[in-house]
Amino acid sequence: MKTETLEPEESITSGDNPGSSREEKSSMPPVRDVLIIMPAFNEELNIGSVLKDIHKEVPEIPILVINDGSGDRTAEIAAENGAKVITLPYNSGYGVALQTGFVYAHQRKIPIVIQMDSDGQHDAKYLKALLEEVRKPDTDVVIGSRFLGSCEYKAGLLKRAGMLFFGSIASLIVGRKVTDPTSGFQAAKGKAIEFAASDFYPPDYPDADFIILLHRHGFKVKEIPVAMRPNAQNKTMHRGHKTLYYVFKMGLSIVVTLLRKKPESQ
């Protein structure tokens, strides 16, 4: 499934060796190093300002919007605001749209990918912090946690309890604090991108199980605090899943993940 990339030098090698090769600190990163991927489904009201905010904060980073079969003008508005747009032929769900971004980045051998939600809940201010963290040699995936930060995240009580529960299970297994496994504000590097583009990726949406999976495959997952934008909290996102099904799916997925033979870590 590999395609030849249009970007030639340097990006070819950087994907293989997370850590050792890329540590040029401080100086502005070359543009094609990083890609922001953003799944969007019927977000014509938000996506324009979200893209503008990102552009204000990090004008050098290109943005890829994956339009998940929206029925509104999401794609047009995204393109007007300078983003590259990939449109899925029909609505396929958050996880599929997100993974499309990873597949694209993997095909193009882009070394660092940042994922963001398109509803404006993530503050572009934290992009630099996320980027700085993921560039560190002993890090493969950085998760922007809404719970580590100061900002209150409002979700249903049951859902929050479930997230907390599975988060603590994940923390136990990973051996590091995982407070916000469902966060859509993450950065990934090198082999972790390839991994996210593979069939290991959960088809509906990534959660605590994927973090455990990452850990078991030898990827280093870290969390940094991010604050939610206060004006964008009213929407419960695309992940409005039935709580009972969520608990079942997550529990089963974690158990099955643990039962699988541990792969030799890279």
Partner: protein
């Protein structure tokens, strides 16, 4: 002894099922892979309905008091296996559709970009040529 009425009905149903599956495969409405489960089920039910002694023997073996319940029991077992087989296939298909969706979307975008790039360059070429003339 199995009541003859039930025996005849059972045999007829099995024969109908078998010939219908054959016909579906012949018309290519059903692939060979999926026909296997149905053919095995139909054939087994047919054999059990014709040879009553075999059915009696199995009924004694599993401890069923009625012949018919043995028949139903095995029929149900086969159906469960077939359904599981379907679930497995559907999961695989879902994965494949997901991959296809993603790649089609990416390819479509790339194609569109290339088309634009080509039409841009050809536009430039024509204007350059015009400039020369």
């Amino acid at each position: 002894m199995m009541p003859p009425k039930i025996k005849i009905i059972a045999i007829l149903i099995c024969i109908f099922l078998l010939s219908y599956v054959f016909e579906l495969v012949r018309r290519k409405h059903l692939t060979e892979e999926y026909s296997l489960g149905w053919l095995v089920t139909g054939a087994a039910m047919l054999i059990l309905s014709i040879f009553e002694d075999l059915l009696k023997w199995i009924s004694d073996l599993v401890g069923a008091t009625l012949f018919t319940s043995t028949l139903f029991f095995f029929g149900l077992m086969f159906l469960m296996v077939i359904c599981l087989h379907f679930s497995i296939r559907i999961s695989a298909l879902t994965n494949q559709v997901r991959r296809l969706t993603q790649h089609v979307a990416i390819l479509d975008t790339e194609k569109e970009n290339l088309r634009k790039a080509i039409s841009d360059t050809s536009f430039e070429e024509t204007t350059a040529r015009r400039g020369k003339l």
